[in-house]
Amino acid sequence: MNIRSLLAVIVFIIVVLVAVPVLIAKSGRWDFYYTLTSVALLSIASAGVWFTFYIGRINIGQGAYALAGGYVSAVLVMKADMNFWLTLPLAGIFCAVLSVFIGMPILRLRGVYFAMVTLILTEVMRLAALALPVTNGAKGITSIPLPGAVSIGGVTLLPDFNTLENPKLAFYLVSATLMIICYGVLWRIVNSRLGHLCRSLQQNEELAASIGVNISWLRVLAYSISSFFGGIAGAMFIAVSQSIYPSSFQVADSVNFMLNCFLGGLGYVFGPMLGTLVLYFGWDLLFSTGKYQLLIYSSMIILLILLLPNGILSLGLFNRKIKADKHRDQEGQ
């Protein structure tokens, strides 16, 4: 990591954690907190989708894990009376373990087959949430209490959200921090040995296997990491909205997670974050157009993909290396 990118990261963190709240306080648009919290959480789930793409699989099933994570957290908070902050990692771990069992058979599939089966998975998770006794069926679980306090050795790390005068701001800060941590972890993974191995899977699985990469283990590992992201995003989302229904995350959400990644650009770790921001804000801003909202939104997606089929970040404003690569490719042909 060189000085310039380190500087960029520090600027980004300051903007997200300091500048945005100050600007919102100045402008008085308190509703932006909810929007931005959603963007942060959805971009964590999208990061998971992005990482599955990194091993060459198109994952349209992230909604399933977000729903599962949300239910795990909600049930543990309501029935077992646990602290929410403890259920957050548990939800992630539950999803990771679940994805190992689901992933082992389906990760043998490739391309469109894998995409289809993960899409079906979202619908199945919704049906499971409807059918299982612990999830309270279609009525869902409502009025989940706000997260409690966390203290280690007498030092309060996070206050009880009930005592805060502005829980929206607190949720925003927590979600944004969570997003920064997740993307940091993702960036670290991608630039580690594990990341290089994953890239080899994306390019050619047989070749990777033939030089001794344990591809089946690696696939399951990558898939469970991505599901972990989905699980904690779902759990956090449920804490913000304080309720969960089987329809909280459905097929359209899974498709949206995928759209976020594609639109941001699949070649870039921070692509899904940008894609989520653009898509979610675009959807929100179009709210005033009433019944034409979906029409304008979908037309914009179609136009974007027509004009920029390789994602927003492929514009090359952000990365000169891409242009160099392209140039090299053209010379090679």
Binding site: I58, I102, M104, P105, I106, R108, L109, R110, G111, V112, Y113, A115, M116, V117, L119, I120, L121, E123, V124, L127, A128, L130, A131, V251, A252, V255, M258, L259, F262, L263, L266, K291, Y292, L294, L295, Y297, S298, S299, I301, I302, I305, L306, P309, N310
Partner: protein, 289 residues
């Protein structure tokens, strides 16, 4: 027992017709058409408009559905998929485009036809009753017969007509087909139009029985995906087999598992996972799609 089998056959014929369109588009262009369910809903609404609002006979509505959807499909292929496939570095971009089109069609359906559940009055009255072993309304039998006739004519078309042969060649190997003088662009467009048309026709057929509403698009796409997972993507016989198998499983499941609540699709999916672990390419698919 006979009743369950008859229901399964009836469902399977509808499902097979939906899966045929999806698998045709997939085999020709390697595009997973997310908008297939929406095309089905659109077809249903066109039939409803022609039959109920204009008061024309049912068969006119069906033809109107077929023609409308064929035109929509051809336009989508010509102006959306073709440029994106040409420009994109990754073929997955078409998936994004298909998802965008699914949202777009949803929006168009909402604006044109509204969000109410719509239906067409029964085309034939009366109920077929064989000694209380099979009870089935005549209109269902008629729809089932029409669906099977359509499947048969589709197979004949693909097998013996010049266009059908060209499309099969395209599905086997795009470059080789082009070298043999097949007009790739023309037949891609024709194939997409045909796939969309099939979705529209099923919509038109089923609007007489189950009715149609805006929310049916997504679940229909998912069912169609299930079918081509079972049968193997891009293979016509596989789509038909998948459709009938899913129809049977649904029919049997709804009866046998009704005591345990609404878990038929959970069971179907669990068995699909086991099946895919043994045979990832489906019943008749090519390995690795």
């Amino acid at each position: 027992m006979e009743q369950i089998l008859a229901n399964g056959l009836y469902l399977g014929a509808q499902y097979a017709l939906i899966a045929l369109g999806l698998t045709l588009i997939f085999s020709l262009m390697n595009v997973l058409n997310f908008a297939h369910g929406q095309m089905y809903v659109f077809g249903g609404f066109v039939t409803y408009t022609v039959v109920v609002q204009f008061g024309l006979p049912f068969i006119v509505g069906l033809i109107a559905s077929a023609v409308t959807l064929a035109i929509i499909g051809a336009l989508i292929e010509q102006y959306l998929f073709r440029p994106v496939i040409r420009k994109s570095q990754r073929e997955e971009s078409t998936m994004l485009l298909a998802a965008g089109i699914a949202f777009f069609l949803d929006a168009v359906i909402l604006l044109l036809f509204g969000e109410k559940q719509r239906g067409v009055p029964k085309i034939v009255d009366g109920v077929f009753n064989w000694d209380f072993r099979i009870i089935m309304p005549y209109d269902r039998i008629l729809i089932c017969g029409l669906a099977i006739a359509l499947i048969a004519s589709f197979i004949l078309f693909m097998q013996y007509s010049k266009a059908g042969r060209a499309m099969r060649a395209l599905a086997q190997d795009r470059v080789a087909a082009q070298l043999m003088g097949v007009d790739v662009n023309r037949y891609s467009m024709l194939g997409f139009a045909l796939g969309a048309m099939l979705a529209g026709v099923v919509g038109g057929l089923l609007v007489t029985i189950t009715g149609i509403n805006l929310g049916m698009g997504g679940p229909t796409s998912i069912k169609a995906f299930l079918m081509i997972m079972i049968g193997g993507a891009g293979v016509i016989s596989g789509a038909i087999a998948g459709g009938f198998i899913l129809g049977m499983m649904e029919s049997v499941g709804l009866t046998a598992l009704s005591a345990y609540g609404d878990i038929t699709y959970l069971v179907i999916f669990a068995s699909l996972m086991v099946f895919l672990a043994i045979r990832p390419q489906g019943l008749m698919g090519k390995p690795w799609g």
